[in-house]
């Protein structure tokens, strides 16, 4: 048998140009996150509140059937903006979102930095905005599944179970609030996670940072509020700012007597700072050799 000469056969086809590189980055990041051991568990755990609230919508329309079981819960089962605010502004949902961010986002940039993958990315037809956009989209994808998707399903379920458009007639702005809040919350948490992920090369360090900043800001708020009884200290807490803003967008009563616009400004400032830092850090591959 003769020894065959093996060489590289060159591609004769045409070069594709239609695909957006950020989509590739996003798809890859989503697949990587989904492959992680505990991520699926955390994600489905985060969907529990949505199932609970969806069940509440059903029960609210069949309250007479559940009269014995639901005694005293009639007030809670009034489907109005406050009901949805209880879902979107719940501490548990926000906590689960942070867990999702740790699972899906802690290593998004820090792993690239650790593995020196940036030269591989940027020696390809990929812009910085494609890279950041792709990473951002992967996180926003998971977050929108926990906010926008349940929100829209809530409305559809209410319309189906009630058999009327009364909810939309009474609160025509509600779907827009769901969309606006979901997009804002997803954008904020995605940028927050990417910012912290870009600050180190160690996924564990980033994971701790993501949770620590979130919980410590609330802890400090608790301490200062406990000492000074000044509600304006809610502005130093990421969680309280988010809950203030969600209440404002859902037309519900805010937790603290502080104008919601301040919370919007604080959160927007963090987002702006995140974008600036990311733009600075992502090209920061200058290694003196």
């Amino acid at each position: 048998m003769a020894i065959a000469e093996r060489g590289y056969t060159h591609w004769q086809g045409t070069l594709g140009t239609g695909r957006k590189p950020w989509r590739v980055i996003a798809g890859q990041s989503i697949r990587l996150a989904w492959k992680r051991k505990y991520f699926k568990l955390a994600f489905f755990g985060a969907l529990f509140p949505a199932l609970f609230f969806a069940g509440g919508i059903y029960v609210s329309e069949r309250i007479s059937d559940f009269k014995e079981m639901m005694r005293g819960a009639e007030k809670f089962l009034q489907i109005n903006p406050a009901y949805f605010q209880a879902y979107f502004g719940s501490s548990f949902l926000l906590f689960m979102m942070m867990v999702i961010m740790v699972g899906a986002g802690a290593g998004l940039i820090s792993d690239d930095l650790r593995h020196n993958a940036l030269p591989l990315y940027f020696s390809r037809p990929l812009r910085k905005r494609d890279y950041i956009g792709g990473k951002f989209a992967s996180l926003a994808f998971f977050l929108l599944l926990l906010t926008l998707a349940p929100g829209l399903i809530f409305i559809v379920l209410k319309l189906i179970f009630a058999g009327s458009f009364k909810l939309l007639a009474d609160y025509p702005w509600l779907p827009f609030s769901f969309i606006g809040w979901s997009i804002f919350l997803s954008s904020f948490l995605s940028l927050y996670t990417l910012l912290l992920s870009s600050l180190g090369r160690n996924r564990r360090f980033t994971s701790i940072l993501i949770l620590a900043v979130y919980f410590l800001s609330t802890a400090f708020f608790g301490i200062f509020f406990g000492i000074f009884h000044e509600p304006a200290f809610c502005l130093i807490s990421i969680e309280m700012n988010l809950r203030q803003l969600s209440a404002a967008l859902m037309g519900a009563k805010p937790l603290f007597n502080v104008p919601w616009i301040y919370s919007l400004l604080v959160l927007s400032a963090i987002m702006g700072a995140s974008i600036l830092v990311l733009r600075k850090k992502i090209r920061g591959t200058e290694v003196i050799r």
């Binding site: 060489g7 594709g16 695909r19 980055i25 390809r124 037809p125």
Partner: protein, 311 residues
Amino acid sequence: MNGNGLTIRAEKLGKWYGNVLGLSDISIEIGPGITGLLGPNGAGKSTFMKLITGQLRPSIGTVTIGGRPVWNNPEIFRRVGFCPEQDAFYDDMTGREFLAGLLGLYGYGPSEVKERADRALDFVELTEAADRMIRGYSRGMRQRLKISQSLAHEPEILILDEPLNGLDPLSKRKVIRLIKEYRTEGRTVLVSSHVLPEIEALTQSIVLVHQGKILAEGDIHHIRGLIDTHPHIVEVRTEDARKLAVRFAGEADVLSVKFDEAEGTVLFETRNRDRFFERLTRTAAGEDLDIEEITSPDDNLQSVFDYLVGK
């Protein structure tokens, strides 16, 4: 797709890291064929590679590929392949996923991505390991995977930073053959290394960088010929070693003569190699000397490197 002779051009290129000089006043044109970028550690090779792959912004000067600026111009990288020196892998991915993910960035459709990935993996003989996690790859396998990602989109310009590091001899030969194949297709290949025999096995055309500056560029032998400060060494193996030594000892351009009668060799140091060889040929023919072998021990990359870097 045949190469159309894309050229890398640097003009008055300089890079500083704060007060530290990376590169200074580099003007060079690297055309089709294989060019070896040589230099000791810290010479500025990696800085140069990063500048021409758009990872670093020049402090001064410009870098163009095919006449188009490299910095902030990602589209140029459809025609450029880059193999970085450092490992750059997600250990939780399989080799195929790694390659497919990077190929996707070029805008290829799924079938084309698969075809290209399969072909590149086959070429570097990683087909069987393609669906294994990268964390289980050996050093050589990782290096081959890294090379495959730089070739999979079949670039017209291939930039390889220390590509043979960690490869076993068989893989080295394979990669060297591949790189040479690119040369035959009129493509531009730039290979950096501090291992001189590796470069010598690939090309005679070098760019020698030292302390951020280009010390020499061009053909190794031509450069050697230009180094007047170091006389050329010529070793002649003959049975008439003593006679040959005496015959040349009086010539003005011959600086020293050493002969080893037991070994049957004479070692000449000459300032004018062309005149020396002309005279040697004439003498051998006229005086009927039996010359078995003529070699130039310092007409190689190592000597050029040592002389220019000042070792």
